[in-house]
Subunit: 382 residues, 2 copies
């Protein structure tokens, strides 16, 4: 028997009560039963997004939401600025190019956050940039980009939309859609929202809605104006992913019960304990600044393959963390503390890591990093 | 207490053992555990589709699959032929137009099937038509289009792809992808496949794959060449909808156990019993020819609103069937016999309908139509 623990940055574990709720018989999405369910989901998402604007619910992965954020608000030839500091920043560039946008890219070294001044400079140079695209939490590097400061910079340009991929960032970080002026923000079900994969969420500001009227990208499945119309009537444009939306209401209820501030603090606390444990092990964080509260990326020690650490964690200890993606493959491993995660998930992760690293010949004093975690998390709960 | 019965043409009921299987803890889609799961799903779909070609698994509703069938194999300006005999035929036209294709449309009166000669005539007139789009089962009218004969006609044109929306048709009808020469066929999880909404499936012939190399429609989320590459390696291009794919293996196992021929016969038998029961009630089928084995559309009796019948069935008897869509709204109601459906689902539906119609003032001899169902289904099981 090997008991399994999931500590990957998505899909994340789903609380058992949510899994069971989704196992209830299917409800029809066009029948009246579904209206209060959909209404509750919309309201809950507005609460989580800290917004009064629409948050659309789509049946796709988060990437589908990213595509919709491009093909609904921009047109071929539009000049846009993408911030590429990892695999998902790269994805912004790819999507914008796929739709014929003219892409300016700020290449940020992996492990670093974009500086708001870089965006300011780019905007000053080309004030006709129609949109700025960034990740809140860049899952591939474990870096959090300073969404608030970036929003402030972009907000000075009346004709520029600020688009945030918060797929792994939402729930882990305090992201204030309305207060900061985020025009479009994407999230996914299988991250902080503690659900199986299958739903994307997208908030859209008034400014972005106006832009949608003029967009000339071809679209049909991700057609946000049509979705808005339908969703305001508590329907989706196409078949609703009913089970997932019912599950969403359950996870939103759990988050509401905990309270938004407490949710953010929990993620900050667990992330901090994870980072301190890595330091106690003598390991280097891959994020050289502004680490994400969703996932901690850690450099593999000299001479040990990051993928090997991932593999031993999984195969010998039943702990599914993550390896590196793209050019970080082999160099790092990643431990998520996102969604349905608490003290002993971190204890398990760090304990498994101590044993894994020692087994791989890295000098570890067993229990030392776990003690750091206990110290930090004990302090917080007393 | 009002016990609920779902007899709508999607989402359809999910077998309890499948719901519980999907309630198991989340598996990570990039971890080795997932490889045999994905492999099994691919193989099972090939079996169901009766094909040796790739059947892609997408995280979207069926409509997402339809969009992918347009934007991967065609280019703006391509001449295509859509067969529009209902709400979903209309959708083919809409999607093709959204991507800038030049659409020729055969408008088929609702309730009728397209005649293969109509397609032949259109093709002869414009042999440069690059694709023909049809529904197998047109859910809005309850009509089955003769896919086999249409495939034969289109198959004569080397440069024309035959694209079939089998979203409600697959499982209910014997659809032979390879034998008949269907180039692209779309299905969805929440129909005959007895799963919650969230997955689309698309088979792609070698001829269609060649076309994909030349297509100039912008795309990113539904990029089939990239999906093919990934899925041949037992991954999806973006996050896999792991729970649904695990559920898919369960429902495929159920279908395999029953046997493909038996599955089709069950649907034919239940559909026939439903139709005969409607006749016994003195009701007219909306499908004037070639009725679908997935759903039976029935004309509301003179003076009774079809939506009212739908409403009473639901609210007084707990039976969720369907009303009419688009221009058939108010004129018809629809009873599905699709997926996880057996004898007593039809008995319940017909019994509820007898009581509903009598309550609405329509002359009904209670039990008479139920007797017809019993007669027909009893004969079959003895």
């Amino acid at each position: 028997m090997l008991k399994r623990y999931l500590l990957a940055p998505g899909p994340t574990p789903v609380p058992p009560e949510v899994l069971l709720r989704m196992a209830m018989p299917i409800v029809h999405h066009r029948a009246p039963d579904f209206i209060p369910i959909f209404e509750e989901a919309k309201e809950g998402l507005k609460w989580l997004y800290q917004t009064k604007t629409d948050v659309l619910i789509l049946c796709s992965t988060g990437t589908g939401g990213m595509v919709g954020a491009v093909n609904n608000f921009f047109s071929p030839g539009d000049k846009v600025l993408t911030i590429n500091g990892g695999k998902f920043g790269e994805r912004w560039t790819e999507i914008c190019r796929a739709y014929g946008l003219e892409v300016r890219e700020i290449a940020v070294e992996w492990g670093y956050a974009v500086r708001p001044e870089q965006v300011e400079e780019a905007m000053k140079k080309e004030p006709d940039i129609k949109g700025v695209f960034v990740q809140a939490s860049e899952t591939s590097t474990g870096v959090y980009h300073d969404v608030q400061s970036l929003a402030e910079v972009v907000g000075r340009y009346e004709d520029t939309l600020f688009v945030v991929d918060a797929i792994s960032g939402l729930v882990a970080h305090d992201l204030r859609t309305d207060e900061w002026g985020i025009d479009v923000m994407i999230a996914g079900s299988q991250k902080g929202l503690m659900l199986p994969p299958g739903l994307a969420f997208v908030s859209v500001s008034e400014k972005a809605w106006q832009r949608a009227e003029r967009s000339r990208c071809p679209r049909y499945y991700f057609d946000f104006l049509k979705e808005r119309k339908k969703q305001r009537d508590n329907q989706t444009n196409f078949t609703s992913a009913v089970s997932l939306i019912i599950g969403l209401n359950e996870t939103l209820r759990l988050l509401k019960k905990e309270g938004l501030e407490a949710v953010f603090q929990r993620h900050a606390r667990l992330a901090n304990a994870t980072r301190e444990a890595m330091r106690a092990l003598g390991l280097e964080l891959f994020a050289k600044e502004s680490p994400s509260n969703a996932v901690t990326a850690v450099e593999a020690p000299e001479g040990i393959d990051g993928q090997k650490i991932y593999k031993v964690l999984r195969e010998s200890y039943g702990v599914t963390a993550a390896g590196g993606q793209g050019k970080a493959r082999g160099k790092i491993f990643r431990i998520a503390h996102l969604g349905y995660t608490d003290t002993f998930d971190i204890v398990v992760a760090v304990s498994a890591l101590e044993m894994t690293l020692k087994g791989l010949g890295y000098p570890v004093q067993l229990g030392k990093a776990v003690a750091v975690v206990e110290e930090l998390l004990m302090k917080e709960v007393q």
